[in-house]
Symmetry: C2
Subunit: 219 residues, 2 copies
């Protein structure tokens, strides 16, 4: 048996993705929640999947909903940070919105497990997830603010400003049905984010400017 | 105690939506599945919510997944039927696609429970739901065929033909977050279905023609 922290024996060698016990627990939980269901997964099953004792799991997470909360937070953290940085940039709103959408689509598609499918759990309406809900609301608001600026430029489709955020999250639906999202579809969704706001001209130019911006921001 | 079918005593008077015991079971199950979770809901809890004995429930449904299958089928049946009728109509593809989207958005929004949120259950990947998955695939294909005709007309955005179906289903995501979908948003989504395909001109004319077609088809 290998050692996991001071005096905590592991029941099996590490076989999970992740550099730390915490990351391994999150990876195992994400797999079980998305393939067996949240309600049907016990902390005991998660500990077993990692190869640690249940008591060791409780050293990292107080309860199953703490694990879910950490996983949900991961689905929005990087996009929220990018949205904040984009708010301070001088590029046109079209370019910034495309950059945000393209990044967010990419990270939702490439995450090892389709954690966004857990947004639909009834548990998320409870008080325990108030903080996650308000963080996700903040990200949605960032999308809507950028979209409103784009619409002001395009002069129509103001009601559609809520749709870019929704379009980006359709990759969760596509992954859930099809397992993966081809590159052409990712690009089509990012372009659709602008099209629903009435932007149809020079999508190639916007895409190019967004690629330059993304490289500069290292995302 | 009132009577439910030949010799089956009810434990409580009917208090569920639905004209028949079967409809009452479906209504109760939809509520429990969407508010407590599918995994956490037993057939016993469903029977109790209806006010019938568990044995009576089994008279209508062999198992919990049969109830889920019936509920899922309800989310696509009417749209699939309309899609078939629209396939035989002479109106332009833009008008037919808008008509389908507007109808489907409406029925997904107005269903008493947001059953589409159950599309994300891991259980749906099992063999039990092969038939439902292929029925939903057929509906998606109907959308894609209409969208491909629209794109052929607009001459661009061919990859986007997968998006109208996905856009319509975002009402499931919006309901899940916000509880309801305002009329302006429903209309914005239906218009976005055309915008993502590169159709930006004369949306008002298409909308009007679609309203006439919907009245003619009585949907």
């Amino acid at each position: 048996m290998t050692q996991l922290g001071p005096g905590r024996p592991r029941l099996a060698p590490r076989r999970r993705q992740g550099q730390t016990p915490r990351a391994e627990i999150l990876d195992a939980a994400a797999e079980l929640f998305t393939t067996h269901g949240y309600g049907s997964t016990s902390t005991r099953a998660i500990a077993e999947a990692v190869g640690i004792r249940q008591a060791s799991l409780y050293h990292h997470f107080g309860a199953k909903d703490d694990i879910l909360d950490a996983l949900l937070g991961e689905t929005i953290a990087a996009a929220a940070e990018l949205a904040e940085r984009l708010g301070r940039r001088p590029e046109p709103a079209t370019v910034r919105l495309y950059t945000l959408a393209r990044f967010d689509i990419g990270q939702l598609c490439e995450a090892r497990w389709n954690i966004g499918a857990l947004y639909f759990l009834p548990e998320l309406h409870g008080e325990r997830f108030t903080r996650f809900r308000s963080r996700r609301d903040a990200l949605r608001t960032s999308y809507e603010k950028l979209a409103a600026q784009v619409v002001a430029g395009a002069g129509e489709a103001i009601e559609a400003r809520t749709l870019p955020f929704r379009l980006v999250e359709t990759v969760i639906n596509i992954r859930s049905d099809a397992g993966g999202v081809p590159e052409e579809t990712r690009r089509a969704i990012a372009e659709a984010v602008l099209r629903v706001l009435g932007v149809g001209d020079d999508l190639a130019g916007i895409r190019e400017a967004a690629e330059i911006l993304a490289r500069e921001l290292r995302v």
